[in-house]
Each structure stands twice: as C-alpha cells, then as structure tokens.
C-alpha cells in the first residue's frame, strides 16, 4: 500500500444546479426548431429502444431544463449523440410524438458549432 494514501474524505465540487443562473439561448434556439421537445414526459422509452445507447432522455431533460445551464451539457449528456445512427426508433416509440431524430440532428449541429461543450 502506498505511503501516499489519501485521507478518508475530501471536498467534492457542488452538485447543485442553480436555476437562477440559467442561460436560455441554446434552449430557445433548439426548442424553436423542435417545439415538441418541450413536451417530453421523461418516460424513458427512447433510451430503452436506442440501439447505441444514447441517453435521449437525459438530453431532453438537459434541453428542457438545463441546457441553459452549462453544468449538465458539460457533464456529457448530449455528447453521446455523436454515436446516433439516425435510425429514428426513438421517434417511433415516443408517446408524445416528439421529433427526437430531428433533435438529434440539431444537437449534432450545435456540437459542431461548439455551442455545446464536448
């Protein structure tokens, strides 16, 4: 065992999201293109059906609530969208008929434009 053994506890970065510090710009931009995105119920059907395991649900939450607050986007939720096959299964299973495929495309564009930190 190393002599450099760490002490039993340390300081973690705060996890709390501060909704007062929201930045609405990205959210507004995305929901303008895909208005149905706002009606996400967070049911998880899209995540369960995704062949490459993209957390569309996390992205919905991120877009709906916290995209404006870079904390969530920086923690990586939308990043996985790069693996998207654009198969559209998520759109087929969505009970609210959200255009998830279009949203994936828009998210990819934002990543390319560096609007979302990767």
């Amino acid at each position: 065992m190393s002599t450099q053994e760490k002490f039993g506890f340390g300081m973690n970065e705060g996890r709390m999201l501060d909704l007062d510090l929201v930045d609405e710009r990205l959210n507004d931009k995305l929901t303008q293109k895909v208005p149905s995105w706002r009606s996400c119920l967070r049911c998880g059907a899209c995540v369960a059906t995704c062949p490459v395991g993209i957390g569309m649900l996390g992205m919905a939450t991120a877009a709906g609530i916290n995209c404006r607050n870079r904390q969530v986007t920086a923690s990586g939720n939308p990043v996985t969208v790069k693996n998207c096959l654009l198969c559209g299964k998520c759109q087929l299973v969505c009970p609210r008929g959200i255009q998830t495929r279009l949203m994936a495309i828009e998210l990819m564009k934002e990543i390319q434009n560096h609007a979302i930190a990767v």
Partner: protein, 360 residues
C-alpha cells in the same frame, strides 16, 4: 324501473308533501336543490353564508376549458330553474338527528326542523398550508396558496407585480396537503394537478416573460381534456415541470422566495429564486359536526369524508336511511362531478320517497 319512470308525472303530487333538506349552496347543493325542486319536492335549502356559490365565488377560470367561473352559476343559480325552494341562507346547520324514522336538522344551535330526506352537500375545506411549515405559508408574504392566486386573478392580478415590474419567476408546489402521511392526508385530492397546470398557463399569459416551474411528484391529470392542457402547458407555454418535491422555502434579503428541491430525473439538487411560491393545496373534509353518529371513521384532524353505503352502486346513498350525499363532502371532486353528484342525489331522494310512500 322503466315502469316507475313512466308513472312519474302522475305521481308527482304525492311527493310534494315531503320535505327535503339540502345542506350547502355550492355547485353540488345547488344542483341537488334545483333538481329536487323540479321533481316536485319541497326543498329547505340551508347555507351558512348569506349567498349561494360557496368557494366558486372566489374562482377565476375553470379547468380544462378555461371558461369564466360564472358559467357554473349562470345556469345553476338561475331562479327560473327552481320550483318550491325555501331558502334558509345565512343559517348554520349544526347537526342531523334521527328520530322515529324522521330526520331532524339542527339549525343555529337551538332550532330544529324535520325532514323526510336530507342531502348533505357541505363540501370541503382547503388544506391549511401552515401545517407544512417548511413551505413558509403564513410566514413569508410571497408564499400563497392556489385559492389565494385564484382570488388574485379574479380581483386584481397586478398585485403580483413588484412596483411596475412583472414577476420574473413563479413556482408551483404540487401535493401540499395531499398524499402526505405527515399531516394526516393520505389520499390524492385529484384536482390540484390540473389546477396547477391551469394557473401556470394563466401566469404565463398574464406575465409572458415570467418563468414558471411546477414541482410535482407525479402529474395526475385524470379528466377529459386534462392531459391535453398539460401538454399545451409544456409545448405552447414552455412551463417547466420538475419532478421532485420542494424540501424547503426561505426568504432572501429582497423578500423573494428561495426554493430547494431535488430534481429526481436528473438526480441532482436544484435551487431557484422565485417572486411567488404557489402551494397547490388539497381538499380536506368540511365541518365535522354534520356527521351522523357512526357514519364515519375519521383520520388526521378528526374529520372524515362521508361514506356512501355502497359506492359501487350509488355514491349518493349513505348508510342511514333518508341521508344522501352530494359533492365533495364524500371526497375530492371537480365542479362537473359535484354537479352530477348533486343531481344524482336529488333523483335518488325522489326514488326513495316514492318507494317509502308506496310501502306505507
């Protein structure tokens, strides 16, 4: 059944000698009194206030269609839609007694009046939000309840401004005094979810730049058109629904309300400062004095909703012969449900008195 209905017009006069007491003049009581009088029964109509309408008088718009609350009393309280009704408004019914097969209504402590049948429609009370101390109702002036907000909309919504400025953020807390064992309210009040959705939309219409958050446990939008309104709130009005219960509210140095909650879908704690925190209060049973002995087993504050004898067969017939229930005295109900329940109770009183007559 069909034969009996056929004979109704001829037999109507035989029931007019019967007196029916209706207790309460909210939507359920009005529907019961109206229907009973139109069926030819003599109605004694009791109401503790001097006017009809109950809590409806303080409502602004109705869910899910957003009609003005007045539409309910336009028809329900129209005197042309009544026959023999003896209005006893401004009189408080303190109890109901059963004596030698008849029921007696005890009024204003000393007086009593006989009745052949009684329709209890004394409604409900709003949950006292002060019991949930962590939300600060009654402590912080910017924490209000859903009926408070409804009344502001009805009278003067500009009270929500600070000076000339519109509110920047408003949050709604669902299930205050519903589904909460801590305060003895184990049941769901059913209508608060849709009330919160409706009021959130109204806030956005009134103050378009205001951000609106709804903190919910789960959304129970059960009625016709409710889910559509929920979706509309999300899509058209961009209202944010955050799944998680507000754990506490406190006042900041400017008198705004700081809210802490867990976003259980993100798995992260959130905090938020709002101009107004609106508590969607549940429905609790109204005055306990009205209960007949042995009618109810109470929970919580010693009060209980009244129970139908066989709720699967009829929501209106209580276990005591001659006693009928209408509206939210038997449990949380929306206005259309209360009205339907009031009409149903009146029809069943009519049936009951006719059957009793023929058996004598």
């Amino acid at each position: 059944m069909s034969e009996r209905l056929k004979h109704n017009p001829d037999n109507q006069s035989s029931t007019t000698s019967h007196r029916v007491a209706v207790i309460g003049a909210g939507p359920a009581g009005a529907a019961a009194a109206q229907t009973a009088s139109m069926l030819g029964l003599a109605v004694d109509w009791y109401e503790k206030e001097t006017f009809a309408g109950g809590k409806l008088n303080r409502y602004y718009q109705l869910f899910p269609g957003r009609e003005e609350a007045e539409v309910v009393y336009r028809d329900l309280f129209d005197p042309n839609h009544y026959r023999e009704v003896n209005k006893q408004f401004g009189r408080f019914v303190t109890g109901i007694e059963k004596q030698a097969g008849r029921l007696r209504i005890l009024v204003d402590e000393s007086q009593a009046k006989d009745a052949d049948a009684v329709i209890v429609a004394n409604g409900f009370d709003f949950f006292d939000a002060r019991l949930k101390e962590e939300f600060g109702y009654g402590i912080y002036p910017r924490v209000i309840t859903s009926p408070d907000l409804e009344y502001h909309f009805k009278t003067d919504i500009s009270r929500l401004r600070r000076g000339e400025e519109d509110p920047e953020a408003v949050a709604f807390v669902h299930c205050v005094g519903s589904r909460d064992q801590q305060v003895g309210v184990p049941y769901c009040s059913r209508v608060c979810c849709i009330t919160g959705i409706k009021q959130a939309i109204e806030i956005r219409e009134q103050f378009p730049r205001c951000r609106v958050y709804n903190f919910y446990i789960d959304i129970r939008a059960y009625g016709n058109g409710y889910e559509e309104l929920y979706r509309q709130a999300q899509e058209e009005y961009a209202i944010r629904f955050i799944r998680g219960r507000v754990s506490e509210a406190s006042e900041d140095q400017y008198g705004r309300i700081r809210v802490k909650a867990e976003d259980t879908l993100l798995g992260k704690p959130v905090k938020l400062t709002v101009d107004w925190l609106v508590l969607l209060v549940g429905m609790v049973p109204a005055c306990p004095e009205l209960m007949l002995n042995g009618q109810s087993d109470s929970h919580g504050n010693g009060r209980s909703f009244l129970k139908a004898d066989n709720p699967h067969a009829s929501q209106a017939v209580a276990s005591c012969p001659g006693l009928f229930l209408a509206g939210a005295c038997s449990g949380p109900m929306s206005i259309p449900e209360s009205v339907a329940s009031g009409r149903s109770a009146a029809v069943q009183v009519f049936e009951y008195l006719k059957n009793r007559n023929s058996s004598l």
